[in-house]
Amino acid sequence: MRPNSISDMRQALAKQQYIASEEIATVLFLAEQLDKPVLAEGPAGVGKTELGKAWAAVTGRELIRLQCYEGLDETKALYEWEYAKQMLYTQLLRDKLHDLLSSASSLTQAADRLAAEEDVFFSRRFLLPRPLLKAITSEQPVVLLIDEIDRSDAEFEAFLLEILSDFQVSVPELGTIRAHHMPLVVLTSNNTRELSEALKRRCLYLYIDYPAVETELEIVRMKVPDLAPQLARQAVELVHRLRQIDLKKHPSISETLDWARALVTLNAHLLDRQVLETTLSVLVKHESDLARARHAIARSGPNGGAGDEPAAARLRLGRGGTREGRYGPPNS
């Protein structure tokens, strides 16, 4: 199924429990129309990988995922010959080979006969397809998710170029294999290193940032429906304030959701000091960040958290506004 318009796409994504901004829906729509890969960049945990999954679900295609890591090479990403199987077949077919070769009168003839049968051992039968080859040779159209491309090496990136522009690969023993169907491709990157211009040129670029309060609230409501609406809003607003201060790792959407689930499990009714103390580590993962976040939350209230007023409210009412200038988000 192919969504015919951008609003269709948006609704279809929402049906898959993925709240997409207008921009995301537009880019996916264009990617389908133009047969181009999508390169999704942005901070960790804003739903880049989820996007690939949701897209597959929307289009009803199978999702093939390739997780990148340092040292990933062609044999792990594209194909590999199954030596063991080849060897096993050679052993089992030994008698048959014997029959074939025994009637040969000379060594040359025997070699020729063997060469004629060579194709048996270098056929698709012994080719172990890895994600990329699987995506290309699949009978059904698929969605190919190449996750965290920035973790792979520069050579692998260069190798991807052929596949992303022509959707074909060359296996020396077999020749060029072309895609039956154009796969839809999503590449994700956390921007830990600069990707090559050539790769970016071939892709549609999508920058996914942390969502606005309302959008995130919508996501929390959808994924954690048990959380009381008032508390959900407080929680999301606190997360947004934490993103304003200077931390090593800002809490992402997935962490907001984890936290929301934690709050439900703890049966919390309001964000008081004790609840925050026990659950803040779900949101903020570095020791130094934790201290800084506590400090920021405590400081934004005049009496250092002695009262029983919800901390989120205090944080909101505090002097936060003036501090924003100093700790702006890095990219603005």
């Binding site: 063991a84 290193r193 211009e197």
Partner: protein, 489 residues
């Protein structure tokens, strides 16, 4: 529309965004699919095909409205909401108001003449009245100003033919004033009052007022678009500026502010390319001693026949100690050097950075905690320049006493400085002590090699102590030096 897109792409390039031919082709295809009616969709379509760096997106957002308008609403016809009687009332009130104002002007004229303001001002005030009327007509009838009228207003406003997108707001304000915006609130107030006196219903007046206010905003938006289009035209005509090869070869001290910005971007780019090149180098070093254990493991599936061989990966984990001179003689390039050191510290996990003028300070913590701009700024304010107080000898003494643990046999020590020591003792013995502990010592000197040894420069003494010395007077030399450094040669 196609032409607009071409101009827009030219402006993006002029603003320093890299757009390839293939990408502009994609932009056209995307525009075909999205159409231009849905403005936001069209914008996203162009952005996703043209802009591939998150950092460039603000540039896009700034330029887009200049070329494709801001999508403001059209002006509304205020008369449509009124009944015929009300419309007659409005017309009558306007006529009365006009007469009243003309009378006022007649009265004012002799006074003005007496106040020795002279001819031009008289003409100005009657102009102002007709302008005001025209403005009122636009706002009430919902008719937009024509191109010629806007051109004329632009002429009176004395718009500067600038090509800086930041000027748009200011120029728009000037245009609005030229269209007679100043007298408008007063006149509108008089009009509402006249209508109320003529017996028009309160709600009808309120509605009228709202329409006029909305129109006022829409008109301002249109004027802003007009101003933006002018800026856009001039922007597209500008030749693209990009840090070319000549910038790489320019000495650090002769850079303008804009060029320095471009150079900062280049340092970032350099660091990014160094990162992947460093990774490549490590990979190629991946041959050496045979690794029996990993070979066995890898060939299990081949029935133990060693078809694939594995080698022991040589883990070359570099450690760096970076020592930077930030004294007066180095100030002009200290910022770039610190920035480079920042990037280097970012690349290499085990790196510690130090800066000195008369004494050694560790600055690793600043670099680890802050963004590059802030970090460099902090270091430079923490170590204020004095006059003739550089003392490398004493700084080395501090280094050897307090920070010598930063140097071990895996460490590459990098000095960045001009070796100008104000005739203080060079303390070669300390450099020797460091050299004996370290893997190697590298010196990067921003001064031309022919000046080494002149005046208070101790450079010739240090040169034999170092494993390699590089002259880094510009970015090209810097890139070459760092490249060699990572190559491990």
């Amino acid at each position: 529309m196609d032409r607009r897109i071409v101009e827009f792409i030219a402006a993006l390039r002029a603003a320093g965004v890299r757009v390839s031919l293939a990408e502009s082709n994609d932009a056209f295809r995307a525009a075909e699919k999205t159409g231009v009616l849905e403005r936001d969709t069209f914008r996203v379509g162009l952005r996703t095909t043209l802009v591939k760096e998150a950092d460039d997106q603000p540039v896009f957002e700034q330029l887009f409205p200049l070329y494709f308008g801001s999508g403001g609403p059209p002006l509304q016809n205020a008369g449509q909401q009124l009944t015929p009687e009300q419309r007659a009332m409005l017309a009558a009130a306007l006529r009365a108001l006009l007469q009243q104002m003309q009378q006022q002007q007649e009265q004012n004229r002799p006074e003005r003449g007496r106040s020795a303001a002279g001819q031009p001002q008289q003409g100005g005030s009657s102009d102002a009245l007709s302008q005001l009327l025209r403005l009122l007509r636009w706002l009430l009838s919902g008719q937009s100003p024509s191109r010629e009228e806007l051109d004329q207003a632009g002429g009176t406003a004395g718009l500067v033919p600038g090509a800086d997108p930041g000027q748009q707001k200011w120029q728009t304000r000037r245009m609005m004033r030229a269209l007679g915006m100043q007298g408008l609130p007063e006149m509108l107030e008089a009009l509402w009052q006249a209508l109320a006196e003529a017996g028009m219903r309160r709600e009808a007046i309120e509605q009228l007022r709202q329409t006029v206010e909305a129109n006022q905003e829409a008109l301002e938006q249109q004027v802003a678009d007009y101003v933006g289009a002018g800026i856009a035209r001039r922007l597209a005509a500008q030749p693209p500026r990009r840090p070319g090869p000549e910038l790489m070869d320019r000495p650090f001290e002769s850079l303008s502010e804009a060029e320095a910005d471009a150079l900062r971007a280049q340092v970032r780019r350099l660091a990014a390319s160094l990162r992947s090149r460093a990774a490549l180098r490590q990979k190629q070093a991946d041959s050496g001693n045979f690794d029996a254990r990993r070979t066995m493991r890898a060939n299990l599936r081949n029935g133990g026949v060693p078809l694939e061989l594995r080698y022991k990966r040589r883990h070359l984990k570099p450690k760096l100690a970076l020592i930077c001179d930030v004294s007066t003689s180095m100030r002009h390039c200290a910022e770039f050097m610190l920035r480079l050191i920042y990037e280097l510290q970012d690349q290499v996990t085990k790196a510690r950075s130090f800066a000195f003028i008369d004494d050694m300070r560790e600055i690793s913590q600043d670099f680890a905690t802050y963004q590059p701009d802030v970090a460099v700024e902090r270091v430079l304010t923490r170590l204020p320049p004095g006059s003739y107080n550089t003392d490398l000898g004493f700084s080395l003494n501090t280094f050897c006493h307090e920070y010598l643990d930063a140097v071990d046999r895996r460490t590459t020590v990098i000095f960045v400085g001009d070796g100008r020591n104000n005739f203080n003792g060079p303390r070669l013995d300390l450099v020797d002590a460091i050299k004996r502990r370290a893997r190697r010592i590298i010196w990067l000197n921003p001064e031309p090699a022919r000046l080494w040894g002149s005046g208070d420069s101790d450079m010739p003494d240090y040169v034999p102590m170092c494993d390699s010395v590089h002259e880094v007077g510009n970015l090209a030399q810097l890139a070459a030096a760092v490249d060699q450094l990572l190559a491990g040669r």
